[in-house]
Symmetry: C2
Subunit: 239 residues, 2 copies
């Protein structure tokens, strides 16, 4: 009885210890969001030899797809270019910045060149189908959105779409930081040349902002520079 008890207790003890080790390992992945945001920097030099694991890339694309947008209208497409040959001609239209080709993948965040009632109808159909409700029950809501969109001139509408894309960019960059993936948001490029070279115009798209993703090169001297941010009392106003 004594030795059976003892063996049982010891066995349980070892099982518990093993279990603890697994948990401790998982714990070490617990997100430190502020730590991740401090780790993040606009990567100037990517390690062209390191590709994102497929599942990491796919997770980032899910994150993008889940981004919030005005009325949920998702006025965007995310163009993913992994092929380096396709990216090489983009460098000269990106202020010579090599990130567009040395990163693991270049995400070209695009808006449609036109956005109108047909896009809202498509969204209403998606809503009706996802939620299992009649399209007719969404008519008033659709009319309100069409009224909103219709009142915007072309430039304001383009700007409204671009803002949604920047919201998605913020979401993507935060996800990258959490996943320990390096990124570098880029506004310095010629949208006209990107649209032409990548055939985006033919897809009814125009490029808004770029986000190369991948892993920092060991030698990127920007990685070790202190992050420059105004203090809380310079950017937070409490009323």
């Amino acid at each position: 009885m004594y030795s059976a008890d003892r063996r049982r207790l010891e066995r349980n003890g070892h099982l518990l210890i093993d279990r603890l080790a697994v948990l401790a390992s998982a714990m070490s992945e617990k997100t430190d969001l502020i730590g991740a945001l401090n780790w993040r920097y606009a990567t100037k030099e990517f390690d062209a030899g390191k590709a994102l694991p497929t599942e990491t890339m796919e997770r980032l694309l899910v994150v993008l797809r889940l981004s919030a947008s005005s009325f949920g209208l998702q006025p965007w497409k995310f163009v993913v270019v992994e092929d380096r040959e396709k990216r090489e001609p983009l460098v000269e239209h990106s202020w010579g910045q090599r990130q567009v080709v040395d990163s693991s993948a270049l995400i070209v965040m695009c808006r449609p060149t036109e956005f109108g009632e047909a896009d809202i109808d498509r969204f209403l159909e998606s809503t009706a189908s996802t939620r299992g409700v009649d399209l007719e029950s969404l008519a008033e809501y659709g009319g309100m959105m069409k009224g909103f969109i219709g009142r915007l001139d072309a430039a304001t509408q383009a700007d409204w779409m671009s803002r949604q894309i920047y919201l998605a960019l913020g979401n993507l960059m935060t996800a990258c930081a959490i996943e320990k993936v390096d990124s570098c948001p880029m506004e310095g490029f010629s949208a006209v040349e990107y649209d032409r070279i990548l055939g985006l115009a033919d897809l009814g798209l125009t490029s808004v902002v770029l986000c190369p993703v991948g892993y920092r090169a060991a030698g990127d001297k920007y990685a070790s520079l202190a992050k420059v941010r105004y203090s809380a009392d310079e950017v937070i106003v409490r009323l």
Copy 2:
């Protein structure tokens, strides 16, 4: 001997079980980013009786402050309004939406009404001081940024600042989802009235977008609606 062994084993067992409980509790906080983004929705009804813990609110403000922006210029201020009396008059200028007052705090995301060379000089000083480098060593970089800003007309410059603020909004909303804090980005408000009522114009600011934060009301029927998102092949283009 038997009872001493047994006591030792039992004590170890209890220690292990206690440790497991702590780890399991911590584990439950491990970030499931995609789960968090699926949990998030544009909260229509906040529980006015539930305030964010101070440390949670402060963490969200740190997240905002750490947001990325074009050249790192941070062309923004985040106005936090917790006082409900100050928020009540905003409702009628927010399409009647009660979130602005029922949330735990309303974050009014603002851009400066003017942005120019003085702002870039201030940023260069902040950079020199943070990184311990001579201001002179940043002169070329400063000239480049001044050239960029100077080439934008007023409307484009305002748009450029607003985009940065939407990037910060995306970062904030993702942080909220991770922290299990509800939020509701809002474009439907009168910036002119907000600026007047909150005295933002006097601070050289104009409101761009709102983000109330807090906790969803138990009765918010929008919480249980399925999220509507286009499928991957509708928003992701692989070249």
